[in-house]
């Protein structure tokens, strides 16, 4: 009788193992889950470092002269960040696209400043709020990712 119980438990364990292996392979194959890159401290640092540079530049758009050195620096850093994120492959597609969006927003604002002249306080506040929101969404996205432990 004891031996019979042992066989039953062993069979149950085997069944459970098969079910869990099945579940393990089923979860990644469902449409919701096709993997996501792990948290990357370099991405987090890049975003949090560059955000204040952009904020200060936007405040300076209220002045007569445009700080072209700052514009060039931010353009270069954004391009580098975009290449870095794209280089991580399809599992990092969201972050790469987010940085692409930040680049488009930034260029749109720079063009507006160059074509229409000095910004008013209202214009500075509006554009700064939007670009800061964009950086914050990308930063939050990176923080959501799991650590590769």
């Amino acid at each position: 009788m004891k031996k019979h119980n042992h066989y039953t438990r062993a069979a149950l364990a085997r069944l459970l193992r098969v079910a869990l292996v099945f579940a393990f392979f089923l979860i990644p194959s469902c449409t919701l889950f096709h993997g996501v890159s792990y948290y990357d401290p370099t991405t987090y640092r890049n975003l949090t470092d560059l955000k204040p540079h952009v904020m200060f530049l936007y405040v300076s758009f209220g002045e007569q002269d445009v700080d072209f050195d700052a514009v060039r620096y931010i353009r270069l850093r954004l391009a580098q960040m975009h290449e870095y994120e794209k280089g991580k492959g399809p599992l990092n597609a969201e972050t790469a696209r987010q940085i692409g969006n930040i680049i488009v927003m930034f260029e749109d604002d720079v063009q507006a400043r160059l074509s229409a002249g000095m910004w008013s306080e209202t214009q500075i506040n509006n554009s700064t709020e939007n670009i800061v929101d964009a950086f914050d969404i990308a930063i939050q996205t990176e923080r959501l990712k799991n650590k590769n432990e």
């Binding site: 869990l20 919701l32 969201e94 964009a134 969404i137």
Partner: protein
């Protein structure tokens, strides 16, 4: 001034009839009470931009640019939500692999 934008939108002349001012006002107002904080924040911005446009503080070109920016932010928020869902699924898959397949089953046999 709060609510100034509503009068501004309602006074817009649309000869093509494509813009329904009351529909637009209703839509933006409903977004202001949405359960999602992100949606509420963007709706508040749209109201503010209409107010600023009505007061001449921003130009039509500015307004258009801000609308494009909000559209970009919405796309970024969707991408954030996608990552949130997939990161949760990844945590579940990792937990099954690390804890259940590797440890719990050994205890059962």
């Amino acid at each position: 001034m709060a609510g100034e934008w509503i009068d501004f939108v309602k006074n817009l002349k649309d000869e093509t009839g494509a813009l329904s001012a009351s529909e637009l006002v209703g839509l933006i107002t409903s977004f202001r009470t949405d359960s999602n904080e992100f949606v509420r924040k963007q709706a508040a911005k749209v109201e503010r931009y209409f107010d600023q446009l009505a007061r001449g503080e921003i130009t039509k070109v500015d307004f258009e640019r801000y609308m494009r920016q909000i559209s970009r932010l919405e796309e970024m928020e969707s991408l954030r939500l996608s990552v949130a869902a997939r990161a949760s699924a990844q945590r579940l898959a990792n937990a099954i692999k690390r804890l259940i397949l590797a440890k719990v089953l050994d205890l059962l046999v």
